[in-house]
């Protein structure tokens, strides 16, 4: 499969200012005082590696979220945007974002679950044209899914 011919300026579509900002100044970077759920995300193909921490209360509301790790601009920005997004959401709503983001990156705008407004997360859309980078953008989201599921099913980043 031949990657379509892109011009250099298209790179701006991948590395939008919002992405670069979140990559350089990741929000919620570090550990939490209280962690109820966590998961590691590893992208074996490129070496990106991060750990996501959640503090979920008894009503299944994500009170706090944070992450640690190292990765490329795309994976760090995506993790940073994730934490910004999910704080305050119920775990069900957070999973709706998981569905929406992964669908967006798979080029499937319909999503496969509850409709959500992606908001800032639309900045990740440029990654779609870079198939090798889609896994970077979804890494944190797979960690989210694993973390939320961890009481019931074994963690998996696939």
């Amino acid at each position: 499969m031949i990657v379509s011919d892109l011009h250099t300026d298209d790179l701006r579509d991948l590395y939008r200012d919002l992405i670069l900002d979140h990559a350089r100044n990741p929000r919620h970077f570090g550990k939490l005082a209280r962690t109820t759920h966590s998961a590691e995300g590893i992208n074996p193909l490129c070496g990106d590696k991060l750990k996501l921490y959640l503090d979920v209360d008894s009503d299944e509301i994500i009170k706090e979220a944070a992450f640690e790790g190292s990765g490329c601009a795309i994976s760090v920005a995506s993790a940073s945007l994730l934490t910004d997004t999910v704080i305050g959401l119920s775990s069900i709503d957070a999973m709706a974002f998981f569905d929406a983001v992964t669908s967006q990156l798979a080029g499937d705008e319909r999503g496969n679950g509850k409709r959500v407004d992606l908001g800032k997360l639309r900045a990740l859309a440029g990654v779609r044209d870079y198939p090798t980078r889609v896994k970077c953008a979804t890494l944190a989201w797979h960690a989210l899914k694993s973390a939320l599921r961890q009481d019931t099913a074994p963690a998996s980043t696939e």
Binding site: V3, I42, L45
Partner: protein, 415 residues
Amino acid sequence: MTQARQLNAGQTAVAACRSDFPALDQDVNGHHLVYLDSAASAQQPSAVIDAMTRYESHDHANVHRGVHTLSHRATDAYEGARETLRGFINAASTREIVFTSGTTESINLVAQSFCRPNLGPGDKVLITHLEHHANIVPWQLVCEQTGAELLVAPINDKGEIVLDALYALMNDEVRLLAIAHVSNALGTINPIKDIIAEAHAQDIPVLVDGAQGVPHMQVDVSDLDCDFYAFSGHKMFGPTGTGVLYGKEALLDAMPPYKGGGDMILEVSFSGTTFNELPYKFEAGTPNISGVIGLGAAARYLEKIGMQQIESWECELSEYMTQRLSGIEDIRLIGTAAHKAGVQSFLLGDIHPHDLGTILDHQGVAIRTGHHCAMPVMEYFGVPGTARASLALYNNFDDIDRLVEALEKAKEIFA
């Protein structure tokens, strides 16, 4: 005889595929080549050769770890072939498709990673008397390494496994049954589905040596319910240096890696190493990328023709071959199972197979002679070797007529 034959549309379509194989379109020793040695290694259609050439000329780079375009194309093509092979044998997941260098490596992998850590004195590995050396020696080695014992189920004089005797050998000391789908020396098609069910009833996992299965019939590992299925690319019209080990995910998951190196790890440090997920755990180092792409093209080629059409065509050919060969005076057919693939071993009078091979080659007819890597079979039939004609989808009735003519000539020379 050939002309009069009634072929159905599917058979006619298969017969037309011969022209896809460039190697078949040549003269050898002044005669148009008749290739009857596909059980040793099959010829490749242009679709396979071209897929590899195209890859090597335009898309090559190392797989899995590159962000650049060629690496991405190479990875896509390589992993695409994995999905093709998964579908080809109907495995549940690509995690169950491990690429190897061939059947031999697939079997050694199971011997060393599945068996070796779990075998000890008192344990048994069960095989049969009709196995290829590739399905004997790895078990001899691992038995020697662990003190386990190798049990061998007998065959009868048609070249069939004696099922009662096989079943009688199954008990709770048997850690694995390893058995050929089709015998390369005798052509016997073993009733592996029944055998697998019988083994599973006693909790014995089963490895099927499918080297001679996949090229000639529809193989469905989910339906067979085998635990491992091993096969080679070069016998299914793909390139040498490629093969597959299918293994049930739960079994592969529990096995330690076979080789160490790049790609099979998640993390390496001197304090310890974390292995990668399936199937990469078993694919250490740079894989045979172009070969696997060729193998994928071979599977697609076969799917396009249709394995059932192929099977039906080869069945016609095989019956014709048996009939024509049986008509030769002084011939001794070795391997006369009721359920047989297009492989026929034979001896002609007191002519040594090796001499027969030369005389046939002289007439442009390529057969294999010798022990066919199945010495125990030769020993069973009390022969030093046989001549063997083996069919593939590209053979036709003329090929068989040419074989028979050439054998008559051999008799003249040795008269």
